[in-house]
């Protein structure tokens, strides 16, 4: 016998929508500058999101091949590989900056 409580879905299949943005050669390798995508809610950190993205296709695996040089911003603020993405609506990936 199941109740509503027991029927709550498996967390691995829960998703939410985030906006991903790519800049410079990360943008060129992924092939788009921006996309809204469904990500599993059990992805907790930037590093986990990058690993998940690398499974999506050759363009992603090429863009994130050297994950250690990729910089990330969560809602337009610099973040690190272990930063939590739980509250982020806009997640950006780019190479080290070269302005000025």
């Amino acid at each position: 016998m199941t109740t509503l409580d027991h029927a709550s879905p498996d967390t691995t299949s829960q998703t939410r929508t985030v906006t991903l943005r790519y800049f410079a050669w990360v943008r060129e390798k992924v092939g788009t500058s921006e996309e809204a995508i469904e990500i599993p809610t059990n992805l907790e950190t930037v590093a986990q999101l990058i690993d998940w993205l690398k499974q999506r296709g050759e363009n992603y695996s090429a863009a994130f091949e050297r994950a250690e040089v990729i910089r990330t911003a969560l809602d337009q603020t610099h973040a690190g590989p272990q930063s939590s993405i739980a509250d982020a609506d806009e997640i950006a990936f780019f190479p080290p900056v070269t302005g000025g």
Partner: protein, 151 residues
């Protein structure tokens, strides 16, 4: 206290005048202007294209400016950064700091440039005469320059 990202060139004299206009409490104004060099690693470049992250750029530059205002007694600051396609010799970035004291103005301008170089989301792509173009690699020295400002 202003931050601008724009495609068009800037007029340094006019920007200083706007920042200091009719004020008699300033005493010291420092400007830094970064320009496009005509070669990279010994090889000529034909154009430099600057990409940025609209929204985050302004937010990050605003944070850097607020940090400078907290550290030094500044009467005014301005950061202007160009984006788009530029030619060798063109202006890229302008930083102005105004203060009653020259050391504050100098230090704050260096600080703003070190932070901007290491944190503001801009990326440069250099095109060569043969038509190929490469993204500029970040320089380790810019990260080192930033570290000296750690409190």
């Amino acid at each position: 206290m202003a931050v601008r990202v724009q495609q068009e060139n800037f007029d340094i004299g006019a920007e200083i005048a706007a920042l200091t206009n009719s004020r008699t409490d300033i005493g010291a104004v420092v400007t830094f202007t970064g320009t496009v060099r005509g070669s990279a690693g010994g090889a000529p470049i034909t154009t430099m294209t600057l990409e940025h992250y609209p929204g985050m750029t302004e937010a990050e530059l605003g944070r850097v400016e607020a940090e400078a205002l907290e550290r030094w007694p500044l009467s005014g600051t301005l950061i202007v950064h160009r984006v788009g396609e530029l030619n060798p010799g063109d202006n890229i970035v302008l930083v102005i700091t105004a203060s009653a004291h020259r050391h504050a103005a100098f230090e704050a301008a260096e600080f703003l440039m070190d932070y901007l170089k290491s944190r503001a989301p801009f990326w440069k792509k250099e095109a060569r005469p043969d038509g190929a173009a490469d993204w500029v690699d970040a320089r380790e020295t810019d990260t080192v320059a930033l570290e000296r400002w750690s409190k």
